[in-house]
């Protein structure tokens, strides 16, 4: 039944409701697929075979009993290893959490479980979500199913690679500066960063509290929208959660009509530094949207150029504080507890051994940026830039409904290519970071392959706060039009991986 892994979530749900197959069969098919290809892809850090099959059996039993089930009940999903799931190892890609089993479910996981979604396991990521390639994972790099010598993007490379390798039809990511959208772009999948506060951060191991946003990943726009609806919505456990109805994302994805929609191409996100093949696919997609009835104009967001430096002050500052709790005292790794060393020494040895280089780099950056005498010049200034970027967005949204840009300046790069050059690595997120700083909704949709390397290109759509529905409206219009052009979704072009066994 390996063709079950080729189905979309919607198709799988239909097959279950018509009784043609069961969640257990579907889950087993995906577990088999993981067994067959994950040696080569390494999307998963932990596969919860027993737990997944038990969840699947429970859904099947409910269906048999005639219980009311959600639209995605019984569909399997890959969970980024940064969200807590009770009793299931959760590492955030770090040695410092090796073997830690959270005693509680994150809100996202609670909602997935309540919707009957089957959690296959935890996916690989850059340590504490710090990175754009998964090369910073303490547990090895994930490989891009389009080209196993390339990175799948990051930090959520595991989740996107799992989709592209047909190991799961749905995945959860978290996006702090592009960690859902950039891997989505690099793997030819859909990645959505909801409005900040639109999805709960409770149980998300924090990188930067004011930026982190959990979101849906899928191979199609409608699948992503259905998953979005499951996980989104107000959560009293997260003070920054927005107490308002979830935007009508599923309806927007089904509608897929952009007639009369005003689309702004961000002038500053393109040109020098952008791969020609990326720009070509981007402009084609813009033309396609014009043909579909959208009104396209160019829009300037002059302060976007300061987004990257501001981000790399705010993120490390918050991270340096958020990561202070990893000290070997209460959970996770403990090093040097020899009965002689005092607590301070044990903390220091634990952090030295447990954190990787990029994590240490950002902790040091953040600690410095928050230091007395530097705070105003660094953290204070960065917050001002953040305000200016939010104003750029606000002004732009007076003229247009959504903004668009390439999701990334380039396609997926080779493993090892940028690992020694942090600035080159950071530049991956040039287009995605402004939305995090402003808290807006944004997404990446696949728009074809770059001519020079045959790798997927992502189309970036940005929408105002709590207008996540507009993302899906654009994404599904593009998806339908392209499927007509290509005779199928982009993902149908991904190389077969079975040989990798």
């Amino acid at each position: 039944m390996s063709d079950l892994t080729r189905k979309t979530a919607v198709e799988l749900a239909d097959l279950m409701s018509s009784g043609e197959t069961s969640s257990v069969e579907i889950t087993q098919a995906h577990l088999d697929r993981i067994g067959a290809v994950d040696n080569a892809v390494h999307a998963f850090l932990h596969v919860d075979t027993e737990g997944a099959l038990a969840q699947a059996a429970a859904v099947d039993a409910k269906r048999a009993a005639g219980d009311e089930l959600g639209p995605l009940a019984g569909v399997p999903l890959a969970l980024k290893d940064v969200l807590t799931q009770e009793g299931v190892p959760t590492t955030a890609g770090s040695k410092i959490l090796e073997g830690w089993k959270p005693p509680y479910d994150s809100t996202v996981v609670q909602r997935l479980k309540a919707a009957g979604i089957v959690i296959l396991g935890k996916t690989n990521m850059d340590e504490f979500a710090m990175g754009s390639s998964t090369e910073n994972s303490a547990y090895g790099t994930t490989h891009n199913p389009w080209d196993l010598n390339r990175i799948p993007g990051g930090s959520g490379g595991g989740s996107s690679a799992a989709l592209a390798a047909y190991e799961a039809p749905l995945a959860i990511g978290t996006d702090t500066g592009g960690s859902i959208r950039q891997p989505g772009a690099f793997t030819g999948t859909v990645g959505v960063k909801p409005t900040y506060g639109g999805t709960s951060r409770y149980g998300l191991i924090a990188l930067a509290s004011s930026l982190d946003t959990p979101g849906p990943c899928a191979r199609t726009t409608l699948d992503a929208a259905l998953l979005h609806e499951v996980i989104a919505g107000y959560d009293p456990m997260d003070s920054t959660s927005i107490d308002a109805p979830v935007p009508p994302v599923v309806a927007a994805a089904r509608k897929g009509d952009v007639t009369g929609l005003r689309i702004g191409v961000v002038k500053e996100l393109g040109g020098e530094g952008y791969q020609p093949g990326v720009e070509a696919r981007f402009h084609e997609a813009v033309e396609l949207l014009t043909k579909l009835g959208a009104e396209v104009v160019e829009v300037s967001c002059p302060h976007f150029q300061y987004a990257l430096p501001a981000y790399y002050l705010i993120l490390p500052s918050e991270a340096s504080s958020n990561l202070a709790k990893f000290d070997g005292m209460r959970f996770g790794l403990r090093v040097g507890d020899d009965g002689v060393n005092d607590a301070e020494k044990v903390m220091s040895l634990t952090r030295e051994a447990g954190f990787g280089d990029e994590v240490k780099r950002r902790i040091m950056l953040g600690t410095h940026a928050l230091s007395s005498g530097y705070y105003d010049a660094y953290y204070g200034q960065a917050q001002k830039v953040r305000t200016l970027i939010a104003r750029d967005f606000a002004r732009a949204y007076e003229q247009v409904d959504v903004l668009v840009s390439p999701a990334t300046p380039t396609t997926a790069f080779a493993i090892g290519d940028r690992i020694d050059d942090p600035i080159a690595m950071y530049k991956n997120d040039l287009c995605t970071i402004p939305s995090n700083l402003a808290g807006n909704a944004a997404a990446s949709f696949p728009v074809g392959l770059a001519d020079e390397d045959g790798l997927p290109v992502g189309f970036h759509v940005m929408a105002p706060v709590m207008r996540d529905d507009l993302l899906y409206q654009v994404g599904s219009a593009l998806e339908a039009a392209q499927a007509e052009q290509w005779g199928g979704v982009l993902m149908s072009k991904v190389p077969e991986l079975e040989v990798a066994r």
Binding site: I205, L370, Y379
Partner: protein
């Protein structure tokens, strides 16, 4: 290990220096749940039973502000005549310590909920105005127990245990501006301020304010400046000051210690000092330089707090009578002189007397017990009066027994001794110690007969027109009865037998 510093006598110290004080008081609120999670706050629960992912700082957990704690903070601010912020935030105070689960304390920094207030205390009939810098919200830390050392302190311990039950309990930190009062009053003013705060917080019903349980904790900042100089000296911050009397003692000690240091040409080191109740001295804790950097920044996991003006005004209406007005009212009701009332307030007895009077005891009788026998016992035990373990109900019970003639004052004092020592109820103590008054007329009569027979000279005096001399006979009877007789009854019998 402990180095005892030289001290100068207080009088000489105050001839040369003026003390400047600053008091930081931490108040644990009596909310049923913690500051940022739903865990319980019961004092004395088994270790780590009142914890959850939030107050344990587990990965992924997030704080949610306890609205009741904000309400209490506003009430405290209003009662201290503070302005209430229209918009304020929490901030993270970053430092590593095992009893702090997140390795940062969620506190308030440059945006406190209440600021710019004032209050007044009365010492020796003089009123002193204390300016309040701020009152801000924060969370308590866990509690470390250091095991295996001689002192119970971390030095020399083999290991430490941490109880996170206290982690996340809401705290309000109330900070005064510098307090400059005549040097000889400084320590008493400090004590009176904390005592007044305690009464105020009790009246607001926002805290248990038990210094012995740590729900009211005071850090005393003390510095000296040369007499007449406008330049502030280097200050020390004395911690572990856990009773009203230790506040007075610790401030006095620091004045005399710093004076000795300065007079001998030395420099006061800016540091945290530890108060030792037993030896009555402070010792050096960690040095606290200005370089200590907590890297404060606004807490990104919480949204700003913007209490509506309507809410603030509603809370203002619920405020109880201000302590000075209350004190004046009670003094009038009880008919106490200024001097007596001062002793009542300084002795921390005002609430206790009020409670006792409410149980039907006369103000004078209540004052007699609280400021007499019980104050003496508290002083001996080194405790504050309300931490002695004797309550208003027990005092009222004993007084009732006196009124009924079952006890006299002397026996009552023994009952109180038993109560302080935890020997049970007054009845149980009377039974166990054999304290009942002898009211058997025949036994008393026999004792009177014995006294009359043994003191013919006294009898003669009385009968020759000096009835006052009968006191000696009464004394002899009481002695004979080992005090367990009702003196009035004895007098009655003596008078009857002698026909006067």
């Amino acid at each position: 290990m402990t180095v005892v510093a030289d001290v100068m006598d207080l009088e000489s110290a105050l001839e040369q220096f003026d003390p400047v004080l600053g008091l930081e008081v931490h108040v644990e609120l009596n909310t049923r749940s913690k500051m940022f999670c739903g865990c319980g706050t019961v004092f004395g629960a088994p270790p780590n039973t009142q914890t959850c992912p939030v107050c344990l700082g587990l990965p992924g957990a997030l704080p949610v502000v306890n609205e009741r704690a904000v309400e209490s903070a506003i009430k405290i601010g209003l009662a201290l005549n503070c302005e209430i912020a229209e918009w304020c935030r929490f901030a993270r105070k970053n430092y590593f310590y095992p009893d702090m689960p997140k390795n940062f304390q969620t506190s308030q920094y440059d945006e406190p909920i209440a600021f710019n207030g004032w209050t007044e205390v009365v010492v020796d009939g003089e009123t002193y105005r204390i300016e309040i810098e701020r009152a801000h919200m924060e969370e308590d830390t866990g509690k470390s127990t250091h095991v295996g050392g001689a002192t119970g302190r971390i030095h020399g311990a083999s290991h430490s245990l941490v109880d996170y039950n206290r982690a996340g309990i809401p705290l309000i930190e109330i900070v005064t501006k510098t307090i400059e009062v005549p040097g000889e009053k400084a320590a008493a003013v400090a004590r009176a301020y904390v005592s007044m705060l305690r009464d105020l917080l009790l009246a607001l019903d926002v805290s248990d304010v038990r210094m012995d349980q740590g729900s009211l904790r005071c850090d005393a900042n003390v510095s000296l400046k040369p007499k007449g100089s406008p330049v502030l000296g280097t200050r020390t911050e004395t911690k572990n000051v856990n009773s009203f009397r230790s506040i007075e003692r610790a401030v006095t000690y620091e004045i005399t210690r710093q004076a000795a240091v300065l007079a001998s040409g030395g420099k006061v080191i800016q540091e945290t000092r530890h108060w030792h109740e037993d030896t009555g001295i402070t010792t050096s804790g960690r040095e606290k330089s200005d370089a200590e950097d907590y890297r404060y920044f606004p807490e990104p996991d919480l949204v700003p707090i913007a209490p509506s003006r309507d809410w603030v005004e509603e809370l203002r209406k619920t405020l109880p009578e201000p302590p000075p007005a209350r004190r004046a009212r009670l003094q009038a009701e009880w008919g106490f002189t200024d001097l007596v009332m001062r002793d009542v307030v300084n002795g921390g007895a005002q609430n206790l007397i009020e409670q006792t009077v409410a149980l039907g005891v006369t103000p004078d009788a209540a004052r007699k017990w609280w400021l007499g026998e019980l104050a003496r016992a508290a002083n001996e035990a080194g405790k504050d009066l309300d931490a002695l373990g004797v309550g208003a109900e027990q005092v009222a019970e004993v007084q009732k027994l006196v009124d009924e003639g079952a006890l006299n004052d002397k026996l009552a004092r023994e009952v109180f001794d038993g109560l302080v020592k935890g020997e049970g109820t007054p009845a149980e103590i009377m039974a166990a110690r054999g304290l009942a008054l002898v009211s058997d007329d025949s036994a008393l009569g026999e004792a009177v007969d014995r006294a009359i027979a043994a003191n013919p000279d006294v009898v003669e005096k009385v009968q020759s027109g000096k009835p006052a001399a009968a006191g000696a006979l009464i004394g002899a009877v009481m002695k004979d009865m080992r005090g367990q007789a009702d003196a009035a009854k004895v007098r009655e019998l003596v008078n009857a037998k002698l026909g006067i």
